[in-house]
């Protein structure tokens, strides 16, 4: 580990994850690992077997009398509001009157062991009147079932542009959802405190929301609930709104029994009960010229939101914000329909709707290329954002930091795109059954919460009299390396060793009213807030030193664990101790709010994003046209993270995001039956990428020229979500391989995830349309 002193020797360094040693030695504690109080109860959540039904009677007497059961709680036991929703007030902790999805929580059993609780729950007598469920987008559309009004974003006159365009085409694609499959399932441990207060250990990206939800359910003020999280075993958006239910159920049991209680969902229950990535249907009608340049486009997005709003409003907005990806769409109309169904309420997932929107426009690029008989990369390049007037997004924000053209050109050369295109053509000509495909797709992803008020963060720093630093902020650690990055920033600011900075658990007791660690903005926001706190204390230390040593402020500097004061050099710890003795406050809060951003949702215009993160990937795949089986042979990624705060951490995000995106678009299939039951609710049937699925050759480069035009923390860029969308290149390459069976004359109708079944169907349909028999 390099922690040598000097400017920039702590930031921009490939330092290990702060918990790496604890992880490899098994000492890192997750919520389920915390020592259990001896009288702790274990909670099991009983779930609805029906997607839509009226509850005629719920008799839980037989559950209560099972030996070892301490409490059974349902809607009637809630002292406050029966609601664990983030925004809309429509997510009951326990069903009341009606159930709206198969898997919805009905009641909780708390017992001496989880086995007892689970077995006891089976004794419940619940009678239902089965109602007709709306499971699919089609069914919801026909029934006119929405979570909110459809939204329209427009730039120019798309209808006229379409009418006047030399070429036009229409198409439709379906994009499946995705389960988060964080390795650590949802878990909460609630501990009773005096005055009826509550301490909750929650695996959550959003401790403040868990705090507020628990308080709301228990009818307490927020100051009576403290939520703490040291780390999560993965989050990916699945622990943004979802943990509130687990925490509230555990807190309710504590309220009822006075005993500590833990709720830890097992994998199958977690997959049935908690929300996922939205599945989308995208219809496009595009007009373009003979070079492939888009003149006008009409894009209609439809998503399955599930039974409640959750964050669907903002997620579908972000899908609209990303249907342009890196392209100037000319005259564009974008509509978005948000369907309410009797399925689990879909929620945040890395990319937050952006990936689905991007899938639509990348399909359009491929389809225009097929129509004109050109290489899809040439179509992409001709449509990239450029100089004014080709720099205005459909939401009227100007793209000021467009590095996509340069980055793509560099990747194209580096990955030998043109040469390999020719090689693949030769390969396919000579290979009757195995066909290869190639695609380069870019990513431009907007950074900031689109709900402007969420773009704020707080931090708290103490320096103790021995010079050691205690660092706390509102961001949470889910493996993404946020805590080490912020610690690097603080060590850099004081010019002290990283080991002098103690990373501590996130808690609502230290920093209040935090935003979720989400939208890729964790480091941007919390890093700045922590820097603000550090600068405040540093300012006091400088003022003290100037007065104490009769030295001008400009002659005081920090380096190498020391402070130079004029001609004198003293240890940082000594200056801190002297300041303490002179009664200088050595603790400070810090605060940050992202500047410049604003957005008017009524007109869908404004500047929702502070800046954009960019990247591009080339993927090469091979498919077996007899079975649909496929493999990713090689991937080359060039990604812009600005000036990387920690290249090792950032590379991990790029690689992991890509592979997760690849899983979404290839192997991960959420299959609901006609009755709305999720049938793929375990890793036996729901396939996330395994080690053997990763690309055979996998080259990742952080863009050396990367910087941020905006004054972000040390000019870095957000990296959490954008790389996921680089995997669209895999999907596009699979489509390219399928299209090769008919000489790229037709765009295959290939939906996501591109499972072997879908690929095989697409191959056969493409051959049929082209009148080509089997080779």
């Amino acid at each position: 580990m390099d922690s040598r002193p000097g400017k920039g020797m702590r930031v921009h360094q490939a330092l290990r994850h702060d918990s790496a040693l604890k992880h490899v030695s098994g000492e890192a504690l997750y919520v389920d690992d915390l020592p259990a109080p001896s009288d702790m109860l274990h909670i099991y959540i009983a779930m609805s077997p029906h997607a839509h039904a009226r509850i005629l009677e719920m008799d839980l007497d037989a559950v209560r009398v099972v030996t070892g059961v301490a409490a059974v709680v349902s809607a009637g036991d809630i002292p406050g509001q029966n609601d664990v929703s983030p925004v809309a007030g429509d997510d009951p902790l326990f069903a009341e009157g009606e159930v709206y999805y198969a898997g919805q929580s009905l009641f909780a059993v708390a017992a001496e062991s989880l086995e007892i609780a689970r077995a006891a729950a089976l004794e419940a007598k619940v009678q239902y009147e089965i109602l007709t469920p709306l499971i699919t987008i089609d069914q919801a559309r026909q029934a006119g079932s929405y979570i909110e009004d459809s939204q329209t974003m427009a730039c120019g006159d798309a209808a006229a542009a379409l009418k006047n365009a030399p070429r036009r085409l229409k198409g439709r694609m379906i994009i499946g959802g995705q389960d988060h499959f964080y390795l650590e399932g949802q878990v909460a441990l609630a501990l009773p405190q005096e005055d009826g207060d509550m301490v909750i250990h929650s695996s959550t990206q959003h401790p403040s929301e868990v705090q507020h939800c628990v308080a709301r359910v228990l009818g307490l003020a927020s100051h009576s609930v403290t939520v703490e999280v040291r780390r999560m075993g993965g989050g990916f958006g699945g622990k943004e709104t979802q943990p509130a239910l687990m925490a509230a159920a555990a807190a309710l049991v504590v309220r009822k029994t006075g005993r500590p209680a833990k709720l830890c969902l097992d994998r199958d229950d977690d997959m049935k009960l908690t929300g996922k990535r939205h599945d989308f249907e995208i219809n496009y009608h595009v007009g373009f010229d003979e070079t492939g340049r888009i003149e006008g486009i009409d894009l209609a997005l439809a998503s399955r939101c599930g039974y409640s709003e959750d964050l669907s409003s903002a997620i579908n907005d972000r899908a609209m914000f990303h249907v342009d990806n890196a392209y100037f769409l000319g005259q564009a109309t974008i509509t978005s329909h948000r369907y309410k169904t009797h399925t689990v309420s879909n929620t945040a997932f890395r990319g937050f709707g952006g990936p689905q929107g991007m899938m639509g426009i990348e399909r359009v690029m491929d389809e225009i290329a097929m129509a004109l008989g050109k290489d899809p990369l040439d179509i992409r390049k001709v449509n990239l954002y450029g100089k004014a007037p080709r720099n205005i997004t459909p939401y009227h924000q100007h793209v000021e930091d467009n590095v996509a053209p340069e980055l793509i050109t560099q990747l194209e050369a580096h990955a030998r795109y043109r040469e390999r295109r020719a090689e693949i053509k030769d390969f396919n000509r000579a290979s009757p059954f195995l066909k290869k495909g190639l695609a380069l797709t870019p990513v431009k992803f907007g950074i900031s919460f689109t709900k402007t008020h969420l773009n704020q963060a707080g931090a708290l720093i103490h320096i103790y009299a021995d010079g050691s630093v205690h660092l706390n902020h509102g961001g949470t650690e889910m493996g993404q390396g946020l805590l080490i990055k912020v610690a690097q920033i603080i060590a850099e600011e004081f010019a002290i060793d990283l080991g002098c900075v103690k990373i501590t658990a996130t808690t609502t007791g230290k920093v209040p009213n935090t935003s979720a660690t989400a939208a890729s903005a964790g480091t941007d926001l919390n890093g700045m807030a922590a820097l603000n706190a550090a600068q405040e204390i540093k300012g006091r230390l400088i003022a003290f030193a100037a007065k104490h040593y009769h030295c001008a402020r400009e002659h005081i500097s920090f380096s190498d664990n020391h402070v130079t004061i004029g001609n004198r050099v003293i240890a940082f710890a000594d200056l801190v101790n002297q300041a303490y003795l002179a009664r200088v406050s050595l603790s400070s809060t810090g605060f940050y709010k992202t500047p410049e951003i604003h957005y008017d949702r009524a007109t869908h215009r404004g500047r929702p994003f502070y800046y954009f993160s960019y990247g591009a990937a080339v993927s090469e795949v091979v498919i077996d046209t007899l079975t649909g089986e496929n493999k990713v042979l090689r991937v080359d990624i060039l990604h812009d993270v600005g000036r990387s705060l920690n290249p090792a951490i950032d590379r991990g995000q790029i690689e992991g995001g890509f592979v997760q995106g690849m899983g979404w678009l290839t192997t991960e299939e959420l299959y609901f039956d006609d009755g709305g039951h999720l049938l793929t609710h375990a890793p036996s049937t729901y396939k996330i990428p395994a080690c053997s699925d990763r690309p055979v050759e996998f080259n990742i480069e952080i863009w050396e020229k990367g910087s941020n035009l905006k004054e972000t923390i040390h000019r870095s860029k957000a990296v959490g979500e954008p790389p996921l969308m680089l995997a669209i290149s895999v999907f596009s390459a699979l489509g390219d391989a399928v299209a090769s069976v008919a000489g790229h004359k037709f765009m295959p109708r290939l939906d996501a995830p591109a499972t072997p079944e879908r690929i095989l169907t697409a191959v056969e349909e493409t051959r049929r349309r082209a009148g080509v028999g089997k080779s």
């Binding site: 098994g26 390795l183 994998r267």
Partner: protein, 166 residues
Amino acid sequence: MDSPNFDDASDMSIPTMSVNNKPVQIDGEARTLLVHFLRDTLGLTGTHVGCDTSQCGACVVMMDGRAVKSCTVLALQAQGSDITTIEGLISEDLHPVQAAFQQHHALQCGFCTPGMILTALDMIHRNPVLDEEKIRHELEGNLCRCTGYQNIVKAIKSAADQIRSE
């Protein structure tokens, strides 16, 4: 779970196993899984439960020198066996496989890491030659959701090379 409670164990001596070189008595119900015995009874929480159905590999421990998924082994099945968990891998220093995972950034959230390390140790023991392709195949029973496995493979290769050279 106060005292031994095995159906037919009344006049037998209490079954034992060795965990991280220490003898322990196997108490609890006969159906207790090894993973729960390790975590709940012995407090060895470095062994994780990821999927409950023996697919993700977060619960892998060494049983008599072979990697097993401890969510599919009854505690009683381990009677007389030597169990090594992630906590038992450290002697004075980190084990070379642990050190390699730390060195090569082969982790993010860390939840899969202990299982990965013990699976890696097993494959290094069984395979005199370990190339990347073999490692990828051998690692199919261990899921990681954060990384793309790239650095995990790198770490295993590096540890294998180091162990061979010693």
